[in-house]
C-alpha cells in the first residue's frame, strides 16, 4: 500500500512539476515581451531627449550667427546702453529694499544659517510653501560669496568615521531629495554629501531643491560639496523649465533672481577629487582632458555652453566686436567679450560637463547630444593612469537602475531622479563611499501607490506617453515625411513596405529607433506587411493660432517652438513679454535662413501682422507659441483607460 501510494505521489508530483514548468515558461515569455516594450519606450524617451539637446546645441551656432547680423537692430536702444554701463549689482540694491510681509507664512531663515534652517526649509517645502524672494536672493548672494573662495576642484577626504554620499542628477525632483534624506539622513558635518550637478530644470521644484542644497552648503561649507552640471547654465534653464518656474513663482522679483543665479552658476566647482583616487565630475572626459589645465582655468568665465568664445576677430574686427558687446549686453547685460575663456579652455569644461562613456574604444564627438564627446574604456584608462587616479564617478545619463558600472569598473554612473521620463521609467540611486571601502549603492523609487503596480500597467503608462511624444515629432514633420513616402511610392498606391517606411522615418526624424517594431503602434500595416503611410498622421493635428497660415510654416513653428521661445526670451531682456514687429521679422528671417527653412518673406510678414492681434505693433510671442500644440484625437479615452 505504502509503495503504491508513493508511486501515485510521484506521478502526481511529476504532473505538478510539468504544470509548474509550463506556467513558469509562459510567464517568463510574457514578462520578457513586456520588458522589451518597456525598453522600446525608454529608447523613444532617450533619443527624443538627446535630439532635443542636439538641436539646442545647434543654437550656439545660431547665436554666433546672430551676433554678426543682429547689430543694427539694437544699436540705438537706449535701455540697452544703460544696461551696458551698469556695474556689478550691489547686493544692497537688490535685496535692501525687499520687505517680507507679516502675512508671509513660508519659512523664515535666520542668518547666519544653521542646521535649524535646513530642517525648517525641508519641513516647509514638504508643505508646499514657497521661500520668499528676499531669502532666495540672500542665499544666492551668500552662496556666490562662498563659492568664489573655492578652487575649481574640491578635494575631499573620507575617514573611517566619516564617509561621503554622492548624489547624481536631481532635476528639480524634490521627492527624490526627500527620499534620499529619509534613507540617508539630513546633511550635516557628520553626514557629508556631494551633489554632482543638474540640480535644476525639468522637475517642478528646481527652486526648492536648489535652496536646500545651497543652504546646506552654507551651513556646512566643509562637508557639503557641489559640482556644476550642464544644467547649471542660465541659457539651458531658459529652455528646460527653470526660468519659467522662477518667473511663475516669483512674479515681482523673478528677474532679479534670474540675474543673480546667472552669476552663481559659473562659480560652482567643476569637479571633485576624493582621497586622491576618485574623480567626480558631472559628464565625463575626452582624450584632451587636462586636469592640470582644468585646475587653473578661470571657471567663472564659463557662462553658458550656448555662448562659445567668439572666433574670427581678425576679419572685420570692428563689426564683430560691436556685435559681441551688444549681444552680451542682451544676454548678461554686463560682461564684455574680453571676459571670455580661450576656446580650448572653454572646450575643456564642455567636455567635463557633457560627455558620456561608451563601450567602443576611442573618443568621438557626442553626436547624440551635440556637445562633449563619447569616451571609450581606453580613454578612461589613459586619463586615470596619467593622474594616478582609480575611478571616475559621473552622472548625466538616466539609468534604469539608478546607477551603472562600466569601463571595467572604472566608471560609475549615478543618477538620482527616479521616474525621470515617466512614472516607473527608472530608479534613482546614490553612492556611499567609506575610507578604503568599495562604493555602496542605494536604490529607490518615488511612488504614490503603496503596492507594486503590475508590470503591464507600468508598461502601458510608459508606452502611451512615449508614443505620444513620438507622434508629436511625426506630425511636426508631416510635410517632409509625406514627401519622403511619396518618393518611394512609385505606383501611387498610398502604400510602401515597412522597410521603406522605417527608412523614411529614420532619415527625416533623425531618431535611431526600432521603427519596424514601433510601426504596430504608429501606422496601419496590412497583412502583406505594407504600410498605409498617410495613417502615420492619423488622430492628430497641430492646433494653429493663425488659421490662414500654410501648414509648412505651422509645422516649422511647432517644431522649433522651444528654440524660438528661448531666442525670444533673450531678445525680450526686460521680460515684458512683448517684442516689436520689426524684431520678430528680423529674428524669424535670421532663424529661417540659418536653419535653411524655406519660407518666403511675404509669409513671415503675413504671419507677423496676423500675430499682432490688437494692431499696436507688438507681439506677445510667448502667448503665440503657447497656442501651438498637437491635438490627439483619442486623448481623453486613452487617459481614462490607463
Amino acid at each position: 500500500m505504502g509503495c503504491g501510494n508513493s508511486a501515485l505521489n510521484s506521478k502526481k508530483s511529476e504532473k505538478a512539476l510539468k504544470a509548474a514548468l509550463v506556467i513558469q515558461n509562459w510567464y517568463r515569455g510574457y514578462r520578457a515581451r513586456l520588458r522589451a516594450r518597456l525598453q522600446y519606450a525608454l529608447a523613444i524617451f532617450e533619443s527624443v531627449e538627446y535630439a532635443d539637446e542636439q538641436s539646442q546645441m545647434q543654437l550656439s551656432d545660431f547665436f554666433s550667427f546672430m551676433l554678426e547680423n543682429y547689430t543694427q537692430i539694437r544699436k540705438d536702444d537706449p535701455d540697452l546702453s544703460n544696461q551696458l554701463l551698469e556695474n556689478t549689482k550691489d547686493r544692497q540694491e537688490y535685496i535692501g529694499l525687499i520687505e517680507v510681509p507679516d502675512s508671509y507664512d513660508g519659512p523664515r531663515l535666520q542668518f547666519p544659517l544653521s542646521f535649524t534652517d535646513i530642517v525648517l526649509l525641508v519641513e516647509a517645502f514638504k508643505n508646499q510653501k514657497i521661500l520668499h524672494a528676499y531669502y532666495v536672493l540672500e542665499v544666492l548672494f551668500q552662496t556666490k560669496k562662498f563659492l568664489k573662495q573655492r578652487p575649481n576642484f574640491t578635494h575631499v577626504k573620507t575617514s573611517s568615521s566619516k564617509g561621503l554620499t554622492i548624489c547624481g542628477d536631481l532635476h528639480g525632483k524634490l521627492d527624490d531629495l526627500f527620499l534620499i534624506f529619509y534613507k540617508n539622513g539630513l546633511p550635516s558635518e557628520n553626514n557629508p554629501y556631494l551633489f554632482n550637478g543638474d540640480f535644476v530644470d525639468r522637475g517642478r521644484n528646481s527652486m526648492e531643491v536648489l535652496m536646500i542644497l545651497f543652504v546646506s552648503f552654507l551651513v556646512y561649507p566643509k562637508d557639503i560639496h557641489l559640482n556644476r552640471g550642464n544644467h547649471e547654465d542660465f541659457m539651458m534653464n531658459m529652455r528646460y523649465g527653470f526660468t519659467k518656474e522662477i518667473l511663475n513663482k516669483y512674479k515681482i522679483y523673478g528677474k532679479k533672481i534670474l540675474q543673480t543665479l546667472e552669476e552663481v552658476y559659473p562659480w560652482i566647482p567643476i569637479g571633485a577629487i576624493i582621497d586622491n583616487e576618485i574623480l567626480v565630475i558631472h559628464g565625463g572626459i575626452s582624450e584632451s582632458t587636462d586636469l592640470n589645465l582644468l585646475h587653473r582655468i578661470e571657471r567663472s568665465k564659463m557662462k553658458s555652453v550656448l555662448l562659445p568664445p567668439m572666433t574670427g576677430y581678425s576679419t572685420e574686427p570692428e563689426k564683430k566686436k560691436t556685435g559681441a558687446i551688444i549681444m552680451s549686453g542682451i544676454i548678461t547685460s554686463k560682461d564684455s567679450s574680453s571676459e571670455q575663456l580661450p576656446k580650448h579652455e572653454w572646450e575643456q569644461i564642455v567636455d567635463i560637463l557633457w560627455s558620456d562613456p561608451r563601450g567602443t574604444k576611442g573618443c568621438f564627438p557626442n553626436t547624440g547630444r551635440g556637445g562633449g564627446c563619447y569616451f571609450g574604456p581606453d580613454i578612461t584608462t589613459t586619463m586615470l593612469n596619467k593622474y594616478h587616479l582609480k575611478k571616475i564617478i559621473r552622472s548625466h545619463e538616466c539609468r534604469p537602475e539608478g546607477y551603472e558600472i562600466c569601463h571595467d569598473g572604472k566608471v560609475i554612473t549615478v543618477f538620482s531622479a527616479s521616474n525621470y521620463y515617466e512614472e516607473g521609467s527608472n530608479r534613482g540611486a546614490y553612492i556611499r563611499l567609506g575610507f578604503g571601502m568599495a562604493p555602496e549603492f542605494f536604490q529607490y523609487q518615488v511612488t504614490n501607490s503603496t503596492c507594486l503596480q503590475p508590470l503591464h500597467q507600468r508598461v502601458s503608462v510608459m508606452e502611451s506617453s512615449a508614443i505620444r511624444i513620438l507622434k508629436e515629432r511625426i506630425i511636426s514633420r508631416k510635410t517632409d515625411l509625406t514627401h519622403a513616402f511619396q518618393v518611394r511610392d512609385h505606383v501611387k498606391s498610398g502604400k510602401i513596405s515597412v522597410t521603406q517606411w522605417a527608412f523614411s522615418m529614420e532619415s527625416i526624424l533623425g531618431l535611431n529607433l526600432p521603427w519596424r517594431t514601433l510601426s504596430l503602434h504608429l501606422v496601419n500595416v496590412d497583412k502583406d506587411g505594407y504600410v498605409d503611410y498617410m495613417s502615420s498622421f492619423q488622430d492628430m493635428r497641430i492646433e494653429k493660432p493663425v488659421k490662414e497660415a500654410e501648414s509648412a510654416i505651422i509645422e516649422t513653428l511647432y517644431r522649433y517652438r522651444t528654440d524660438l521661445q528661448m531666442i525670444f526670451n533673450i531678445i525680450d531682456s526686460d521680460r515684458s513679454g512683448l517684442i516689436s514687429m520689426e524684431e520678430f521679422r528680423n529674428m524669424w528671417k535670421l532663424f529661417s535662413s540659418h536653419y535653411n527653412v524655406q519660407i518666403r518673406d511675404s509669409q513671415i510678414d503675413e504671419l507677423a501682422s496676423t500675430m499682432d492681434l490688437n494692431k499696436d505693433g507688438s507681439i506677445d510671442f510667448n502667448e503665440f507659441l503657447k497656442a501651438f500644440y498637437v491635438v490627439h484625437k483619442y486623448e481623453k479615452s486613452n487617459k481614462s483607460n490607463t
Binding site: A16, A19, A20, R28, G29, A32, R33, G359, L455, P514
Partner: protein
C-alpha cells in the same frame, strides 16, 4: 522559375525579414551601441522575438552564442546566425492558452477554480525552474485578487491575454 528556386527565394526573403527583427530587438538592449548586450538580457531578447524557451533551453542557447572565454557580453555577430536558425526552425513555440489553463487545473487538484496565493508561491518557487523573488512578486501583483487573496486562474489568463494585445 522552378519550385526549388521559388522556395529558395521565399526563404531568402524570410531570412532577411528575421535579420531585421533580430537587429531591432538586439539594438534596444545594446546600451553602449557597440554591438553587444549584457548576457542577462539574452533571455528577454529571445523571448521578445516570440520564442518561449525554458530556462534549460535558454542555457543551451547561451552556450552557443557565448565567447570561448565568457565576458558577460554577447556579440551581435555570434547571436544573429544562431537566432536566425531558431526562428527559421520555429523552435520554442509559445504556449497555447488551453495548455496553460490545463497546467493551472493540474495544480488545482481539488478543482475549485482557484489557487491560493500560498499554493501558487509554493509551486512557482519550489517546482520546475523556480522563480526569482522579483519574478514571483511581479506575477503576484497582477494575479492575486486583493480581496480574497486567491488566484482565479481562468480570469487571470483571460486578462493577461487581453492586456498584451
Amino acid at each position: 522559375m522552378t519550385i526549388r528556386q521559388n522556395i529558395l527565394r521565399t526563404s531568402k526573403v524570410k531570412v532577411a525579414e528575421f535579420h531585421k527583427r533580430i537587429k531591432e530587438a538586439f539594438e534596444v538592449f545594446d546600451h553602449e551601441s557597440n554591438n553587444t548586450v549584457d548576457v542577462r538580457e539574452i533571455g528577454t531578447i529571445v523571448r521578445s522575438l516570440g520564442c518561449c524557451p525554458s530556462e534549460g533551453e535558454l542555457h543551451d542557447l547561451l552556450a552557443e552564442v557565448e565567447e570561448e572565454e565568457p565576458t558577460g557580453y554577447i556579440r551581435y555577430e555570434k547571436f544573429l546566425p544562431v537566432m536566425t536558425k531558431v526562428l527559421l526552425e520555429g523552435r520554442y513555440r509559445p504556449i497555447p492558452d488551453d495548455v496553460l489553463l490545463q497546467a493551472f487545473e493540474t495544480l488545482d487538484s481539488a478543482k475549485r477554480g482557484f489557487l491560493t496565493k500560498e499554493e501558487l508561491i509554493k509551486y512557482m518557487t519550489e517546482e520546475g525552474e523556480p522563480f526569482s523573488q522579483e519574478e514571483m512578486e511581479e506575477m503576484l501583483s497582477a494575479a492575486v485578487d486583493p480581496e480574497s487573496n486567491l488566484i482565479h486562474y481562468k480570469d487571470y489568463i483571460t486578462t493577461m491575454v487581453i492586456d498584451e494585445n
